[in-house]
């Protein structure tokens, strides 16, 4: 079975990680699973987001019930995509979906840019 290789690979990595004292689950190295995660992310951000419940969330509900929702001040600046709706687009589904995809792409880019310089090609740095 071709599935064995990535499993062994992650086990080796787990042995290395145990030395750092920061044990956690062994995250899969299977490309197919990460591709599925990427597709799920894009579908969630781009399509399912439109069908999200419009009701207030837990904190907003509490603020409403206890009469301090009005304490929330109007934002003093205008963000690029306020309330997850890309301005200037008329289709409600498109403006929410696009906001989601843009946000997911920004997060991918930001986290990639932050974590890559912090990562070690080999794991030598983890063994101080």
């Amino acid at each position: 079975m071709s599935r064995r290789d990535p499993v062994n690979e992650t086990k080796e990595r787990s042995a290395e990680r145990a030395d750092t004292g920061d044990a956690r689950v062994e995250v899969t190295g299977k490309k197919r699973k990460w591709l599925v995660m990427a597709i799920v992310t894009l579908l969630a951000a781009g399509i399912v987001s439109y069908f999200a419940s419009p009701h207030p969330d837990g904190l907003e509900r509490v603020a409403e019930d206890h009469g301090f929702l009005e304490k929330a001040s109007e934002p003093s600046w205008r963000a690029w995509i306020p309330d997850y709706e890309v301005p200037g687009i008329s289709s409600p589904m498109l403006k929410v979906g696009l906001a989601g995809v843009i946000g997911a792409a920004i997060l991918f880019g930001v986290l990639y840019a932050i974590s890559r310089p912090l990562s070690a090609k080999q794991r030598e740095e983890g063994r101080e």
């Binding site: 787990s14 689950v25 999200a52 009701h55 837990g58 997850y84 997911a104 997060l107 986290l111 740095e125």
Partner: protein, 216 residues
């Protein structure tokens, strides 16, 4: 559970701002010590997933909704220090680009959803694996995620009470009450994704687990 500007007073904003900044600095330092290159795209993708999942408010009860938070997911997969960095990135982008969560309370949101969410989720997960000796990992993951969002909501309640918004016991009851329901969604999503992406769960004794692994 993004706190908007105006809910917290100056002392709470400043205190949590300092705590949040300190936690990010520590998280980045710890990340630098432990991160391997193959993890970089995985971290970036899970960060994008957490952002996307946070958009999906689901109905809870009556005219209330809840959404996924992600602190437990990030910390179980990549460790709590990386979890804090990931959650902080999500919260900062949400505040700056999408106006979700205030700027003066950014530290408070990072402290509650990021730091408390990540460390409580990770702590309960590790404790559960230790006590159950690595059995019932899906249930442990569910519980860890449930605890992480309830703990984060309690932290928000404490900050609200500290800011004089409403009494602590009322704040705790209200916030924990709603988020114990929302936590069911948090637990399900976290357990599902962790089960899908985990090859193997690290058990109570990481040292023996590593010997076992290298013996294979």
């Amino acid at each position: 559970m993004h706190i908007p500007d105006g809910f917290l007073d100056a002392k709470a904003c400043i205190a949590t701002g300092a705590l949040g900044a300190g936690a990010i600095a520590y998280g980045l330092k710890k990340t630098k010590m432990t991160l391997a290159r193959p993890e970089v795209p995985k971290i970036a993708l899970i960060g994008a997933f957490i952002f996307a999942a946070q958009m999906l408010n689901f109905p809870v009860s009556g005219a209330t909704s809840g959404h996924f938070l992600g602190g437990a997911l990030a910390s179980i997969l990549f460790g709590p220090a990386v979890g804090v960095v990931m959650m902080s990135a999500v919260l900062i982008v949400q505040a700056l680009v999408f106006q979700d969560g205030g700027l003066t309370v950014l530290g408070a949101n990072i402290f509650c959803s990021g730091v408390i969410g990540s460390y409580v989720g990770y702590g309960v997960y590790r404790l559960g694996l230790t006590l159950l000796r690595g059995k019932a990992t899906k249930a442990v993951t569910f519980l860890a995620a449930w605890c992480s969002i309830v703990a984060a909501s309690c932290a928000v309640a404490v900050l609200l009470a500290w800011s004089g918004t409403f009494p602590l016991n009322v704040a705790l009851t209200a916030m924990a009450g709603w988020h114990s329901l929302i936590g069911i969604g948090e637990g399900l999503v976290t357990a599902l994704v962790v089960a899908y992406l985990a090859e193997r769960n690290v058990t109570f004794d990481s040292a023996s687990a590593s010997k076992e692994a290298s013996a294979v």
